[in-house]
Symmetry: C2
Subunit: 180 residues, 2 copies
C-alpha cells in the first residue's frame, strides 16, 4: 500500500438511511490543508444474469426513483444485513422474475461509484432456469420481464436503451466467460 | 410512461455536500402505505477511454476513500456546475494523465447506481493523444498512469484486478465500437 498524504481527523454518520448511510470524514493533508470526504455507506448487493435455454438473457424493466424513469436492468437487489451475496442473488432472481436456478456461478464483482460510495455488487450467472411465480415488493410496481439475446442486448447498449452500469458490466463479464 | 402506484408527499434536502446532496422524499402508495426514498443527488461526470497509437488504453490507479484502497480506473471526473460533459472529459484527461486530444468522441452514457443516485457518467473515446504535463489535485495524491492493451484490460477484468464499473462499461463500449 502506497503512503497516503492525509489522515482522518473525525468521522460522523450524519444520516442512518433505509438504503445507505451518509458518512462525513474530516481529513487533514500533510500540507496542513483540511478537507471532507462524503461517503454513501451501502451494504452492497447482488446482480443476476439469467440465461434461458435458448440463450436469451432475462432483464427487468423497473421504475427508478432517482432518475424518474423506467430502467432496463439485470435483476438485482441489496444485501440484507450480513447476507451472503450468493443467497441474495438466488432470492432476487426469484423475487423479481419468478425463475429459480440451482446453477448459479460467480462472474465478478464491481465497485459502482468508488468516488462517493463503498457499494460493491456481486454479479452471478444463472442457468437451467425453472419457471415460477415472482414475489415483488410494493416498491417494484410496474416491473416487467424483458428477454433479449446477447446480440439484442449489445444493440441496446450501443443505442442507449440499456444504460444501467451493473447490467453493462454483467454483459461484458458474460461475453468474457464465453471466450473461454 | 406507465402509471405509477405512489405520489411524493414531501421532499427534503437534508445535506448539501461537496460531491452530492442527500435528498429524502416521503411517498405514499395508492394502498395508503407510506415510504421514503433516499437519493444521492450528483451532478454527473465524464469518463475518458484514451487510446494510444499502439492501441494501449491509458488507466489511472488512484486512491479511493470509500473503499480505502487504490482502484484502477479510466480517467474521470465530476461535472462542474452546468458543465458540458465533453468539456469535462477534455479537462479530466489532461488533469489526470497529462495527455490531451482533439479527437474525442462519445461512446455512451451510464446510470451508475439507479437504485440510490441520479448520477450519469458520459463516456468518451480519446484518440491522437498529445503528451503533456498532468495537473492533479491534492486529493489525487499517488495517482499513477497504467497503460494496458485491450486484451490485458480484459484479463484484469476477469481476474478481478479491474472492478470499477465505469471502466468495465467503457471497455465494453469500446469493444462494441470496434465491431463496426
Amino acid at each position: 500500500m502506497k503512503k497516503l498524504n492525509f489522515k482522518v481527523l473525525k468521522t460522523d454518520i450524519i444520516h442512518k438511511g433505509r438504503v445507505f448511510d451518509l458518512k462525513i470524514d474530516e481529513i487533514i493533508y500533510d500540507s496542513g490543508n483540511k478537507g471532507f470526504r462524503e461517503t454513501a455507506v451501502h451494504p452492497g448487493g447482488a446482480v443476476v444474469l439469467p440465461v434461458k435455454e435458448n440463450g436469451d438473457i432475462i432483464f427487468v424493466n423497473q421504475f427508478r426513483f432517482p432518475h424518474d424513469q423506467f430502467v432496463l436492468e439485470l435483476p438485482a437487489g441489496k444485501l440484507d444485513f450480513n447476507e451472503d451475496p450468493f443467497i441474495c442473488a438466488k432470492r432476487e432472481l426469484t423475487e423479481e422474475t419468478g425463475y429459480s436456478s440451482e446453477k448459479i456461478t460467480k462472474l465478478g464483482a464491481i465497485f459502482t461509484t468508488p468516488g462517493f460510495s463503498n457499494e460493491i455488487l456481486h454479479i452471478y450467472l444463472a442457468k437451467e432456469l425453472i419457471e415460477g411465480k415472482h414475489n415483488r415488493e410494493e416498491g417494484e410496481f410496474g416491473m416487467e420481464i424483458v428477454s433479449l439475446s446477447l446480440k439484442e442486448a449489445e444493440e441496446k447498449i450501443k443505442s442507449g436503451e440499456i444504460v444501467d452500469a451493473k447490467t453493462i458490466c454483467g454483459i461484458l463479464y458474460y461475453k468474457l466467460s464465453l471466450d473461454n
